[in-house]
Symmetry: C2
Subunit: 385 residues, 2 copies
Amino acid sequence: MSKLEAVGIITEYNPFHNGHLHQLNVIKEKAPTACIVVVMSGNFLQRGEPACLDKWTRAKEALANGVDLIIELPPQACIQPADRFAFNGVNGLASLGVDYLVFGAEHAEYDFMNYASQVQGLKGEFKKYNQSYAASIQAAITQALGHELAEPNDLLALAYAKANLKLGSPLKLQPIQRIQAGYHELALKAGQQIASASAIRSNYQQGRLAELRTYVPHETYVDLSDNSLVFWDDFWPFLRYKLLTTTPKELANIYGMAEGIEYRLVQKANELAHGSSFDDWLHAVKTKRFTYTRLARLAIAMLLNLQTEDITSYNEAPYFRLLGFTKRGQEYLNAKKKQFTYPLVTKVTQKDAKGPLAVDYRVGKLYQSLTGKEQDLKKAPLRIF
Amino acid sequence: MSKLEAVGIITEYNPFHNGHLHQLNVIKEKAPTACIVVVMSGNFLQRGEPACLDKWTRAKEALANGVDLIIELPPQACIQPADRFAFNGVNGLASLGVDYLVFGAEHAEYDFMNYASQVQGLKGEFKKYNQSYAASIQAAITQALGHELAEPNDLLALAYAKANLKLGSPLKLQPIQRIQAGYHELALKAGQQIASASAIRSNYQQGRLAELRTYVPHETYVDLSDNSLVFWDDFWPFLRYKLLTTTPKELANIYGMAEGIEYRLVQKANELAHGSSFDDWLHAVKTKRFTYTRLARLAIAMLLNLQTEDITSYNEAPYFRLLGFTKRGQEYLNAKKKQFTYPLVTKVTQKDAKGPLAVDYRVGKLYQSLTGKEQDLKKAPLRIF
């Protein structure tokens, strides 16, 4: 690899843990001089939940542990079904002239680009009214490939590959075998140093902060100790308020609203007992046609007042946001920035309360209303040299 | 007075105190057999604030202290400038066939109906951009009457008289001299048993519950002891959330929004420091053209998502809501209800989540989301016999 070669990762770092560090170390071993470019979700995540630590804190953890350049995927690009999310992430890396995309997969031996060409354009039959869209697509993929592809990171990998194919294959894909922690595993396993981000958050919520020391780098441990992590229930009073006072008709323009589900979302909020949680509401609204993840994402879209036209505007004019860089990241920026395909926004100011960055502005203000930490105004990209 | 004669009052009872009790006693002395009919604001009040106790609690206090029939003025009728509020209250009493309207005034000797005929149709000149509408109207009234009419209860009395005139004078007006406590006085005065509702709330907030025993009937004292009173700051996180996530364009349909003030309301919310209160925001948005009361009412309209069409619909088809009655109140209802001009709603059910009672339903749900006490569903009118 030449000095200016770049390796890209699409992440959430929610929070940054030893599994992420392991991935960076594998990259550094194979390409010691490459610039590691990360596209990270901001304060709200693809699966429909708030980030447990704000984007600046997570970016700092990443830069302290080997990432060279960290870019935010704006909320309109994150709060999306997996395929759209993957496309936006790949598009971001491609826009920045990145050469390789590294990702964890349960089956790193799979040829995902080949799979992508087999399933490109596939749509679920979507005739069965008791089946979710995800399940329907899943069945179609199995049929096309001749075997199941069901594990979460493998599926995400396929989504990256499809996005890459669609963009004319600007990136070379480099799967890394996932080790130790399963994506959904919530228990910490003795004798291991890697746990899933879900397990880390779940154990934090249960008050087992001290036990997390083994599973996260020092910077993350300090952040977990110094901050009150943010969870859905912190925002739930606001969403509940919105559901109680907004008519279904007013919710119809929210991105992702479909099949009249807005009536059910409002009705179930009205019927909840006093003191009910976000999960109580989610369980009450669940139907066979809507997965929990889809409903949670819809909930985030409502919370953020993300309207269909916000998404359309973003898709027509994508942009990304610079969160921070190391010295190597800065060199990369200086050498390549003139070739970037899309704008790389370096600041959000008071003027952006309206205009193309209005969503970033308002989403930052909302997250900030909980934590008290400025998310946008007067924030310059982090420089960790 | 015949047995079925009714004396009406328009109130807030926020909370019911000795001044209110005094007023009822004066009425009972003069008309011992009359039915005392009260039209009361519900859970949100005309001056743009939540009621400190819910409407059922306040209705119970009133019925326990001499009121015979208590009717709620729906939110669309309450969250209104004083003239509209007064009209809706008078309209409610007239609709119920009430004969007299009793109210406190700083100058009970004034002939308010006569004044009303002198100022009917007056509009403020409203040319001066540094003057509020209220101040402008005030100047016009002074000019018409030849003397100032500036004290709050006198002004409200004039508004009642104007409303009565407009409706063809169905009610006879009976001013009562206000005693002891001024409307805006916040201090409790030793040796007196009457304090303003503002003074009572303010002292409660300062933790002086025990001192309030002198100023309120027993029932109210128990309610003040058993409940956590509700104030604007309890709802402020919801309004702040709304201001942070809603575009000014989406706020333009809120009732009372004018002159593009929505841009300022949103901007000032965005600029507030972390932990700022409702009052901080109100002070930040204040301009010479908008009084505090008008802004607070606008804030309630935003909080409740009261849209211009909600008000129009109410004005086209007014209704009132039965909260409770004594035996005498029940007799009055039985004798007169066939002659009532407008619907007297006795229950709100799940079906009313949409339709003409949708505002009542949602406003109840919102208030209830704080207190945990059911406001509408399964609530039958109180019967205190």
